[in-house]
Amino acid sequence: MKILGTITILLCGGLLIFFTSDFPDFGDPKSPASIHLSPYFIEHTLEDTAVPNIVTSVLADYRSYDTMFETTVILTAGLACFLLLRIPTKEVTRRYYLHEPTGVTLRFDGDRYPKGSNVFKRIDSNWVPYDIIINFTCRLLIHFIQIFALYVVAHGHYSPGGGFQGGVVIGASIILFAISSNLRASIKRLGEKAAAIFTATGVFIYAGTGALCMVIGEHFLNYSFLAPLLGTDRIMARSHGIFIVEIGVAVAVMAVMIWIYYNLSSAGKQDEGL
């Protein structure tokens, strides 16, 4: 298999490198990808949508159907992880507790674990003592990461950024919290149910904005029909519409990243994990 694979790969790679001679040169302004559609986007984004960042205006306005279904794909991926892996926590019976005054670890099977005791602390089966430096640094960093993520979402019209990037950064901050403390502490703050609802809410905000445009005007996802609701002219309405949609994307992406992490890191038990 290895020899056959190597021969196939070398053949494929050789053919691909041979045919790169037909490709446009690197940085050629006249390459086919840059002369048909993209000049329109570059020259008309300000008069059509009042958004200087062309990537944002193409993402959420000119190609908004594409982005809507990308969000749906992400929702589907989160659901697939959930359906593949999730096991009810009731089946987990073996738990480990640390007796804090003495430092002894005890194992409890079944229901006989100390409920509501303040000398016993629940720990994972592969528990190691937490490093105070990591804990403290992460606790300091997470706020700034989240503020920065909100800036990335809100400032996506004028600088590099937008819903996808900001959502991923918020999700990463919560995953960082889950890694630096533990999975249960993270689930207590943002549970699985909340993550699932947030994911669906994000997709709903996106599709709902489109549907609202269709109810008021006549085109799905044509934000200029939102102008009477937002109290602005039709071009600024498209700018605001893009912002609403980006918030939906950010919420969906954030929740899906957290949801997938919860399920993967604990193999679906969501009881103990990384």
């Binding site: 298999m1 290895k2 694979g5 190597t6 196939t8 790969i9 070398l10 494929c12 790679g13 691909l16 490198i17 790169t20 001679s21 490709f23 040169d25 690197f26 940085g27 050629d28 302004p29 390459s31 990808a33 840059s34 559609l37 993209s38 570059i42 020259e43 300000l46 009042a50 200087p52 960042n53 062309i54 990537v55 193409v58 993402l59 190609r63 594409d66 982005t67 990308e70 794909v73 992400i74 991926a77 989160g78 697939a80 992880c81 593949l84 892996l85 004028y158 600088s159 996808f164 990037q165 071009i235 600024m236 992406v253 899906v256 990243m257 997938i260 399920n263 993967l264 193999a267 679906g268």
Partner: protein, 134 residues
């Protein structure tokens, strides 16, 4: 065309072809399922880099209209497409990266399921177990 300008014009494609082949080799020849998934991610990254490099124009800046903050009123000069790199590949790859992460999650979930079922991630051992069962 001399050799230096040829390398300067096509070196980006050659890099991505090499990356693409590394990923493809891992997917075809490796025995471990997680290594196959890593190969898939390398393959995906090569495609993403390829798209982003297509969008580059010599002398172009990043695709944000300069002085566009006051909603176009301050821009008296005409916006020329040659001054800005092509935004379209960036848009496509922006969504592809996030969807790639989500599908990577699904792939890893499947790998966890396979491990729970067979107790191994090596492909030949899994195949042996399936043959024994059937």
């Amino acid at each position: 065309m001399d050799i230096v300008s040829l390398i300067a014009a096509k070196a980006n494609y050659w890099t991505y072809v090499i990356l693409l082949m590394v990923g493809l080799y891992a997917m075809v020849a490796k025995n471990n399922l997680v290594k196959k998934i890593v190969g898939m991610v390398i393959f995906q990254t090569a495609v993403i880099l390829f798209y982003v490099s297509i969008g580059y124009k010599k002398g172009g800046t990043l695709p944000i209209i300069m002085h566009g903050h006051d909603h176009g009123h301050g821009v008296e000069s005409v916006i020329k497409a040659a001054d800005y790199i092509n935004p379209l590949p960036h848009v496509l790859m922006l969504t592809a990266i996030v969807v790639g992460v989500a599908t990577l999650g699904v792939a890893l979930a499947l790998a966890i399921k396979v491990y729970q079922e067979y107790g191994t991630l090596e492909e030949d051992e899994i195949r042996k177990q399936i043959e024994l069962k059937g």
